[in-house]
């Protein structure tokens, strides 16, 4: 028996052959003892494989099984994440108070800015400086500053002879 004949027997056992060819194979196995023995062996092997397959089953339905997992995940999540605090006071606390604080800060900043004199904006270093302007182009002025006593002397040029 060649390999092709063995495959024909396997195909016959699996019901894959046309009816006419299947009748020929059946007649052949009745005539040939080796073919009949091989067919019997293949049948036994097939039955053994079917019986030995593990048959595992879940006691619950598939949907119920996954639903149970989902419920367990939700139970383990933090309480605050699942139940948002929707009270009026909570809303005030979250939005109103920060808005009031921010508004007050903006108003305070605006008031402080608008009421700052230009001399202050120009710089603190200029606050104590003395500026002198003479009316006549030919005139001159001399400034002497006594920092210890906080005295500033401005002497106009037409009287410079009075200074030591």
């Amino acid at each position: 028996m060649n390999e092709e004949q063995q495959l024909k027997l396997q195909a016959f056992l699996d019901g894959e052959l046309p009816e006419r060819e299947a009748r020929e194979i059946l007649a052949w196995t009745q005539r040939d003892g080796a073919a009949a023995a091989l067919l019997a062996e293949l049948k036994n092997t097939r039955q053994a494989l079917v019986k030995s397959e593990p048959h595992l089953s879940v006691p619950e339905s598939r949907d119920f099984f996954w639903s149970k997992i989902e419920r367990e995940i939700q139970r383990l999540e933090p309480e605050t994440a699942r139940t948002p605090d929707a009270s009026l006071f909570a809303g005030l606390r979250r939005w109103f108070f920060p808005a009031v604080a921010l508004g007050a800060l903006v108003i305070a900043g605006l008031i402080a800015y608008l009421n700052t004199p230009k001399t202050v904006v120009d710089g603190v270093a200029d606050a104590d400086t003395t500026t002198v302007e003479t009316t006549l182009a030919s005139a001159d002025a001399t400034t002497y500053r006594d920092a210890g006593e906080g005295t500033t002397l401005v002497w106009f040029s037409d009287d410079t002879t009075a200074i030591n």
Binding site: A108, A112, T116, A127, T129, E149, T151, N164
Partner: protein
């Protein structure tokens, strides 16, 4: 805890608001000034009232050639911010203006203009037309 933080934030904002308002009003105050016409002399017997010891000490530290100083006339006045006061001292026309933040502007007509901070301990001295005479300008309480 979150509530306390928000309350503190609101209180801080209100504090800054109050501070800004108070600061703004502080800048609008008035300034009380004294302008003295002082004459310098090397003769201790010169007529007039001697200047106060405080003014005398200040004047004697300046590079002036006189040994004694006497008050010829004196005026005290208050100025609001941006308010001016016209004076005639020693034959000179003066205009004193408070420009805010304890800073004054002294204009000597036909001579010049001086801008100077005048805090409580500061004094501005400048000469006028009359010989040996000058103006002492300071803030008074």
């Amino acid at each position: 805890m979150k509530f306390l933080t928000m309350t503190r934030l609101v209180c801080a904002a209100l504090f800054f608001l109050l501070f800004a308002v108070v600061t703004a009003h502080a800048g609008d105050g008035t300034m009380k000034l004294e302008a003295q016409l002082v004459v310098g002399s090397n003769d201790p017997q010169t007529k007039g009232k001697p200047v106060s010891p405080q003014i005398e000490r200040k004047l004697k530290r300046l590079p002036l050639k006189w040994g004694s100083y006497f008050v010829v006339s004196s005026q005290q006045f208050s100025l609001a911010q941006d308010e001016s006061k016209a004076l005639v001292l020693g034959g000179s026309d003066l205009v004193v203006k408070y420009i805010g933040r304890e800073r004054v502007e002294l204009t000597l007509v036909n001579r010049g203009k001086i801008s100077q901070s005048l805090h409580q301990d500061q004094t501005l001295v400048t000469n006028v037309k009359d010989e040996n005479s000058f103006i002492v300008l300071r803030q008074v309480n």
